[in-house]
Amino acid sequence: MRKEWMKQDAVVVGESGAVSRRSFMKAGALAGSGLVLGFFISGGNRFARAAETAKPVYQPNAFLQIAPDNTVTVQVNRLEFGQGVHTALPMLIAEELDVDWRQMRGALAPAAEAYKDPAFGIQMTGGSGTVAHSWNQYREIGAKARLMLIAAAAEQWKVDPAQVKTSKGMLLGPNGQKSSYGAVADAAMKQPMPEKVTLKEAKDFKIIGKPTPRLDARAKSSGQQQFGMDFKPEGCKVAVVARPPVFGAKVAKFDASKAKAIPGVVDVVQVPTDRGGSGVAVIANGYWPAKQGREALEIEWDSSGVEKVSSDKQLAEYKELSAKAGLSAKKADTSKLASAPKKISAVYEFPYLAHAPMEPLNCVVDLKADSCTVWAGSQFQTMDQAAAARTAGLKPEQVTLHTMMAGGGFGRRAVPTSDYIVEAVNVAKAYKASGKAGPVKVIWSREDDIKGGYYRPSHVHRAELGLDAKGQIVGWNHVIVGQSILTGTPFEQFMIKDGIDATMVEGMGDPYDVPLNLSVHNVKANVPVLWWRSVGSTHTAFVMETLIDEAAHAAGADPVAYRKKLIDPKHKRHHAALDLAVAKSGYGKKALPKGQAWGVALHESFNTVAAYVVVASVKDGVPKLHKVTAAVHCNQPVNPLTIEAQIQGAILMAVGTTLPGAAITLKDGVVEQSQLADYAIARMPDMPKVEVHIVPSTEPPTGMGEPGLPPLAPAFANAVFKLTGKRLRKLPFDLATA
């Protein structure tokens, strides 16, 4: 979620090819190197068992399975929830293994030591880090496996390994010998693992950098793909939980008699819920009876002693706080501001946002006396496994956590408190305590999802800029007010420095050479907050890119030229992305139809730069986005098809943040929205035409899941300014109050 993580946890590939790292999670750190690979020749998923029984740190059989039919199954040590790693990681292995792409298969790995992120030190998916962090690891696994296959074939054929060549999954000997990889996979596994491998140069790539269709496209187009929601072990019951209306409130008393009378309801139990609250779980033979049972519950809640946030009041407080300086995050001399001939003052408002993944949260738990098996679309396997163990009163090694394919997430499945996992284990515990046995699946309804917390935090920004006669920014005071995502989590010690939550200020100032004096008020509130696709940049890119646009306007300069001048030439990737987007869009050259205008923005997040040139119009007071020309600098592109898809998807999600109704609000502690009718999500008519261009590069790849989101809303707002003369300073957009 943060580029700082990568800075402090650089992946180092040593002489031996081993991957070492300084872990940011000391408790979860791998002790040394852990290069792992191996082969299985039989079918079935034996990886889980291998992971359970193998010693930590070094685990064979973890990443690669070559079957007798020559199919290669790659264990993807991540969650696949749309971002394409289930195809990208097999591509990295296939490139070095030298196989036909059609041989490749992907599988999602369970929680295990071997699958920890080499840079983060825990098994997780986030920070747009999968390809960036697995770039060396997965290619090395492929390269080493290939050498072991060659060694095994050479031994069988009694020839020098140097005489054995490979081609598309076949081993070729000097005297016409021929064997499939699958035929020698068993023997190859017994070969010593080569210590050193030479990885291919970019110019020799056959798979990396080529548009490669997703391995899961057919299954996902035909209803065959199994998601967590679809998983139902033998005898599995379904539970829905009545959660407190205010976060952390408790059940005072409840009457379950009507619920228990509903056919199919098998149990009603009180359970602990997130943030020290409690709720009531209805367990039934299916979702429908469970839901009917929940509706029939009579519950009296005790919400005394928990703060009841109201958004209107909170916003007023945030605005008041923003008038005062907070904890200093960035210092600069802003003494010239007071006497500057031109000034810009702005207050920005950002609401809470729900992630609202298409697949509502769910979790299957099979709790036994000395073991617990969890099936969930987890982004945080290591933490979720540990949380399940704590909740069940077991050791982490007694908990098996299977990673299920997930229907979106956008951060909601990476929760430092493991809220939905812990709750599901608590339901299973209460169910077991009431004398029942067997697995239970907790399903969240859409209403549960919208009301269930862990939102992108609401923030207020206040900015005062001074410009000299030439339009140069000579002083910039800036205050940010909002809740910290990280306070109270295990990430606090690594990502909060001197009281400043790194996710609140990321993207502020960069890449512009401006005297920015930045401070932060880190406010506490009884609303659970969490990262939401592109995290802090969902706020900061909007603020930065609309203010720079405003400064350009005040200076009487073209917004592209103004940016180019203000970005130091050392930021080559920013310049390259902006130049490419401008060139491909026709900005400055092409005349637009009457009523349409250009808007420009660029932003770096997760080490990737995205630059957008958009075309928008305003009709009857409603802004409409027509086209986005996107240029992205993510270094070496791995799968251009996925890069395009991620940019399209991030753009659409960002468009969603501009739509009326894209806000979570609270009144007296209760979330006011509950469905996709009152919490706006972008639909097909909202989708602009998107054209994606990739800046060529052979440097190690950077993130792609999130960086496409931040520059969209500001580019759109900048276009709306051109059309209306109004500066939009609120998300979602509201021209009437701008």
Binding site: D216, S222, V238, N285
Partner: protein
């Protein structure tokens, strides 16, 4: 016992008549291709065909489906139009997380069964009820047009 005709077969199930078709499919018949997204006909993930029309199975009780022909994503493989749509989906690499795509395919198939060459506006109006949070709409548009072409 209620008898439903699903994918051309009469199927008996023991469920409350108020049970939505969605949950009868998923929980009673273990047909999980049809997805639960909102339970309120707002997202389209649960789209099936009833009497050839695209309907939201999450709000349609099984009692109202008696005597009707229900078709689900599982039958699209054997349906000329459904298969063409699926092939176009794969060709255009449409899915990301994929969770909404059963519903998208069902809505697109229903569209192409009544409109052999839909315009952009036709596609938008037929598909606006199907949410894709990953933002695959541009590829969906292209895939529908391609499927239409392949069926012409």
């Amino acid at each position: 016992m209620i008898t439903l005709n699903i994918n051309g077969r009469d199927t008996q199930l023991d469920a409350d008549p108020s049970t939505p078709i969605l949950w009868a499919l998923r929980d009673n018949l273990n047909m999980t291709g049809t997805k639960f997204g909102c339970g309120a006909a707002l997202c389209g993930a649960c789209t099936v065909h009833m009497g050839g029309q695209a309907i939201r199975s999450c709000v349609t009780p099984i009692s109202s489906a008696v005597g009707q022909k229900i078709t689900t994503i599982e039958a699209m493989e054997g349906d000329k139009v459904g298969k063409a749509v699926q092939n176009a989906w794969v060709k255009h690499d449409v899915p990301q997380c994929g969770y909404c795509q059963s519903g998208q395919v069902m809505s697109a198939t229903a569209l192409l069964k009544t409109n052999k060459s839909p315009s952009d506006a036709d596609i938008e109006s037929a598909m606006a009820g199907n949410i894709c949070r990953c933002g695959t709409y541009q590829r969906i548009r292209a895939a529908i047009k391609d499927a239409a072409k392949s069926l012409a």
